[in-house]
């Protein structure tokens, strides 16, 4: 073969190979589109038995656990804050993950958050979250974070303050368990779910976590709790105003004129509070602060 012919065949290959690959990719796109129109893609788990999957892992169960955990994270992430989304595969995915690797603490801790969050932010199943964390504690008896998480679930989701106090106390007694948890346990046992106790617990979550998403969530909740606490204080001042003048204040300015307030109280994002016709303080409509749900069931702040 001459040099010219060799060059020609080389160029032919250099052109033909990328062209063929491009054609294959285009064809695959068409096939994907066609397949989607025939049967819309649906998430499913072919195997739901953690024990069967463990047997089939051929000893590579910890690697398989990583894959299932990643799948659980992706599954949750794809549905997070999506209207009408359901999380029915979340529990099976977490069940498989923690059966394959019972030592994967992160799966218990984050999995409990995914399961317990309400509305579009999670499965709204604190019962399953508690089961998951209890399983984690059984497999990792020295891990204080899991007792702490269990206490938090009882405290914040179930409002079972007795169980919450027990779990916080158990966490404080574990190796490396912080001593402040014993104080928190005592406070929860004594004062239940007061706003101040909630603030202390969320502050600890904010301080002790490195994950930016959890810190952001904790900060939002802390802002909401602060606003709830402010509103309660303003309500008391408004009641005092009503006693003096026989009517509720229409604005914060009226409270200042009456000498009941020194300045203009603002929420954690800097927006001034407003008053409704019933004399109740409320967040400014422009403010992005969100007061946590179910706070009505919490007792008034203790001073």
């Amino acid at each position: 073969m001459t040099g010219t012919m060799q060059m020609r065949s080389l160029w032919s290959v250099l052109i033909a190979v990328p062209s063929l690959f491009a054609s294959i990719a285009l064809l695959q796109m068409r096939i994907d589109a066609e397949t989607r129109s025939i049967a819309p893609q649906k998430d499913d788990l072919l195997l739901r038995s953690p024990a069967a999957i463990q047997k089939m892992s051929f000893g590579y169960d910890s690697l398989l656990a990583d894959i299932y955990w990643t799948r659980a994270v992706q599954y949750y992430g794809a549905r997070f804050n999506t209207k009408g989304a359901t999380y029915e595969l979340l529990w099976p995915l977490l069940d498989i993950t923690t059966t394959l690797d019972p030592k994967m603490i992160v799966a218990y801790r984050f999995g409990a958050i995914f399961l317990s969050e309400k509305g579009t932010a999670g499965a709204g199943r604190p019962d399953l979250a508690i089961e998951l964390v209890k399983r984690g504690i059984a497999a990792n008896p020295d891990e204080w974070h899991l007792d702490y998480d269990l206490g938090f679930l009882y405290y914040w989701r179930i409002k079972d303050y007795e169980s919450a106090a027990k779990s916080f106390l158990a966490a404080s007694k574990k190796p490396n368990g912080p001593q402040w948890l014993a104080v928190t346990a005592a406070r929860v046992a004594q004062k239940g779910g007061s706003l101040e106790t909630s603030r202390i617990i969320w502050s600890e979550i904010y301080e002790s976590n490195k994950d930016p998403k959890i810190r952001e969530r904790a900060l939002e909740t802390l802002q909401g709790l602060k606003a709830a606490q402010d509103e309660m204080g303003l309500d008391q001042i408004a009641a005092e105003y009503q006693k003096r003048f026989g009517r509720f204040p229409a604005s914060v300015a009226e409270l200042r004129s009456a000498g009941l307030l020194n300045g203009v109280p603002v929420d954690p994002l800097g927006y001034p509070y407003v008053f409704g016709p019933d004399g109740k303080a409320a967040l400014n409509p422009d403010s992005a602060v969100v007061i946590p749900q179910d706070l009505n069931s919490l007792p008034a702040p203790s001073h």
Partner: protein, 259 residues
């Protein structure tokens, strides 16, 4: 002690390198790089776990593939290429030839595994994690994998002494899978009401090599201590089994008619 197996071992190692067996290291490197870059973006809190689990699993899988597919051809390839006859014409006994071939492949696996372990360490370093004392457990897990690979190589070599490569592959894989499920086989027997079946499954349990013994990947990834006595027991277990297989292989090969 005879030094005749040494040149055979060195030649087997050279041959494996010439056959570009170590090219699998490129795939391993790509796998580690991909995992190190991707995992932080698609999962939560398991960067370190994935690197260790994936790295050790890949070391095990790549090693197993090499041990089985090269192991079953150790003898048959020499017969096929007729190099065995010139070799045996030298003052090399048949068992020495077998031990040399075995040692050569184990050396290849040790070199391959060592490079992969370095790759794993580099990937861990890349994900920004300072090395801690418990990382020594990764080395213990790698050592267990090497014991497993040495045992699988001995099984493959044993079958290759009297069977075709295709059948030897199937037999080795069969023994390997049975060895992984050894505990389950015993449990099935315990579940049955038949004393005969129970006894049989117990015999199988103690007869087949229990590969579950060598699985320390999960313990290494979670930094759980592996008792030194277990390391010693596993070493002895593998050594005894390998000796048994090499003796059996030598006995079979010595009686084999090579004409």
């Amino acid at each position: 002690m005879s030094t005749a197996p040494m040149p055979v071992a060195v030649n087997t190692f050279r041959e494996a390198v010439r056959d570009r067996v170590l090219y699998n290291l490129v795939f391993f490197a790509l796998l580690m790089i991909g995992a190190a870059i991707l995992v932080g973006q698609i999962s939560i809190g398991i960067d370190r776990l994935v690197i260790i689990n994936l790295g050790l699993s890949a070391i095990s899988v790549f090693g197993l593939v090499m041990a089985i597919f090269i192991g079953v051809g150790l003898v048959s390839k020499e017969i096929e290429k007729r190099t065995l006859y010139s070799l045996l014409a030298q003052p090399v006994r048949r068992w020495e030839f077998l031990v040399g071939k075995y040692a050569g492949l184990v050396l290849t696996l040790v070199v391959n595994t060592s490079f992969m372990t370095l790759g794993l360490a580099a990937a861990l370093f890349y994900v920004g994690r300072p090395f801690v004392r418990s990382d020594a457990l990764i080395l213990v897990a790698v050592y267990f994998i090497l014991l497993e690979l040495a045992l699988v190589t001995a099984i493959a070599l044993f079958f290759s002494c009297f069977s075709t490569p295709m059948l030897s592959t199937l037999f080795t894989l069969g023994i390997y899978v049975t060895g992984i499920f050894a505990s389950d086989i015993r449990e099935f027997g315990d579940l049955t009401k038949s004393p005969g079946l129970k006894a049989l499954t117990r015999v199988i349990y103690y007869l087949v090599p229990n590969f579950h013994n060598f699985n320390a990947i999960a313990a290494a990834s979670h930094g759980e201590a592996i008792p030194l006595v277990l390391v010693a027991q596993n070493t002895l277990y593998a050594a005894l089994y390998i000796t048994l297989l090499l003796v059996a292989a030598s006995a079979v090969f010595s009686r084999r008619n090579l004409k």
